[in-house]
Symmetry: none
Subunit: 205 residues, 4 copies
Amino acid sequence: MNDNEVLSSVKDRELIEKRRNQMIKGAISLFKDKGFHRTTTREIAKESGFSIGTLYEYIRTKEDVLFLVCDSIYEQVRERLEAKIDLQQPSMENFINVIRSYFELMDEMQEEVLIMYQEVKSLKKDTLEYVLEKERAMVGMLERVIKTCVKVEISDQDAELIANNIFIQGQMWGFRRWMLQKQFTLEEYIDRQIHYLMQSLSVQE
Amino acid sequence: MNDNEVLSSVKDRELIEKRRNQMIKGAISLFKDKGFHRTTTREIAKESGFSIGTLYEYIRTKEDVLFLVCDSIYEQVRERLEAKIDLQQPSMENFINVIRSYFELMDEMQEEVLIMYQEVKSLKKDTLEYVLEKERAMVGMLERVIKTCVKVEISDQDAELIANNIFIQGQMWGFRRWMLQKQFTLEEYIDRQIHYLMQSLSVQE
Amino acid sequence: MNDNEVLSSVKDRELIEKRRNQMIKGAISLFKDKGFHRTTTREIAKESGFSIGTLYEYIRTKEDVLFLVCDSIYEQVRERLEAKIDLQQPSMENFINVIRSYFELMDEMQEEVLIMYQEVKSLKKDTLEYVLEKERAMVGMLERVIKTCVKVEISDQDAELIANNIFIQGQMWGFRRWMLQKQFTLEEYIDRQIHYLMQSLSVQE
Amino acid sequence: MNDNEVLSSVKDRELIEKRRNQMIKGAISLFKDKGFHRTTTREIAKESGFSIGTLYEYIRTKEDVLFLVCDSIYEQVRERLEAKIDLQQPSMENFINVIRSYFELMDEMQEEVLIMYQEVKSLKKDTLEYVLEKERAMVGMLERVIKTCVKVEISDQDAELIANNIFIQGQMWGFRRWMLQKQFTLEEYIDRQIHYLMQSLSVQE
DNA sequence: GATGAATGAGATTTCATTCAT
DNA sequence: AATGAATGAAATCTCATTCAT
């Protein structure tokens, strides 16, 4: 299952792409405010700039919109994170840079991540699994960076644990902003998290 | 705002208490399965063992149920965590015991924490704030334990950061179970998290 | 499957009976004009004298209404026909009386029979079968009358054929009224049909 | 009103003919399965081998398709029946042959007749009348055969009655197949119906 | 205090039809 | 002539909430 498998009665590939992007953009902006359940399909259509009938030419059910949105967010995060990682050499400095980039990304994409966190649960088993697989893949990316860059001996299990910790610390900045962003600037938050991460890995910064 | 401020047309204090407990129990068991939005008030009434009419004698809106549920879960977590903390002497060993207890508690209350995690955001601003205040208080408890038990010098800000990290690592065990509980037993998870925590505090275990 | 198996969320047996009768009456009067497909559930509710919400307290889908209507029509026909038959002695005269009664019944219930004929096809397999079973039963009643009253030797197969012929000749009076009722009064129609029936059975009238 | 009066924005007579035939063929195959109301115009277009846009170049409303289908079916039946009749000499034997041919035709065209039977009533008054006129004509054909071939004195009224009886006995073979085709082969059915018909006309077979 | 029938606003989805290309 | 994307009215069905008993 991927976003091409959300059935559309329109045939033109490019048009589908274009309309779905409008749709995703519109939907995200609404979901931010009111969440998935409180947003109506009519509102999504309107916000996307077309009629309700047209909306349904590009999806089959309201849940498809949610899937498209979640998929798109994950895809964005993954792409941007991958871009950072690919360019790096396996050194501690680069490890820190990746983590920093990840935190910055999570800051930029706060709203989107928040949507995902709150709404993913509304997906049906099938699509949910597909989306969770993407999350697993992203944690996997962090794991690989850890195993590649960190000199200290770390078991696979521990690498996974640390990757998970970093992963949700990044998200936490967004979904616990009401608490954290009162006490920290982004800079401070990143610095202190990295500081403790280094310590826990017994590495001199 | 607290749970007594959820208006009821019934006068008898004790009865309100009793009925609301039935209600919370019923609602939690439903929310676990289907989430707040997909659960109907009729279902809540039925699961609670009384009629829809009776349900509405004890609340005013469906959201009141969610509030009551969240409030009750927070209260349970707080109480049980407090019980562990109050009895402890300020030592590193006790610190570790508190953390361990907290993780164990999160394991026992996984389902409830999941509900909280996913549904709290459906509360309206007013009630949301009230509930988040409770969360802040719980993080505060962890903060105090850190400041009291850990000998190393830690700024207030850092204590808050660490408290938050611990807090969500506890929750993560539940809401990322599809990932973590495949790789770790609870014991292992706790041990490794505590291990890295100790290292990050530059403390010999 | 019978009409009690159309699920209702109302519990009061008597009330269900009452409301469903309102509903059937309302629906029949609408189906006469516009048929099942062109009639909306809102119209059915209104015609029945209650709100759309109430309608759906007594049925689950629009098709349930159709089933209830068909079932009720069959039941009426069956009951009234049975009443005529039970009282008769097995004689040729009585046979003729039954046929006559049946034709008269079909005349009185023209509209209802028309609805059944045009709309039964919209029932789903399950319910359709249930309804056709009733039709088979009614033809069976005629068959038994034939075998009992007619002295001439008639095979089971032939009895069934004749029963079917009579059965649809009765219905034809209603659904081909645009043709027949211009040329025949009911009396004439019955007399001539019986005349030819008697001849085909080689019986002196 | 005839099929040329279904307006088309295409000028080319031959093309109209060709497209409409595709359409009728496609529509019949769909109506067999799902009936008129459950079939969408998109499906008709697709089954016919062209686009929805093209469909609407050759008709104005969905009902036009139904009309075209009914008209075409009647036309086929009429033509084929006429072919049988024209060739016959006015004898009892030929009468029987016509009846036999008619029953065989109804067997071959069961599905089509079923569509007619069930869907004609969805036509609007105007078109309905036009189609019923064709039915009247067909019954008229049978009437004429009766009056010509049967030696026994039969009033006009009786001829019409018998023609109607034969007419629907033919259709009945198709629309009551769930009942009749379990008990009779086509041969048997025809033989017995003709047997009783002869008896009712007091004719030795 | 308890009940549950009644309500109707509102949600999702479909589909006949149009019209620019 | 043919296409198929766009439209939006209208249909079915749900469900939080009320209120008479």
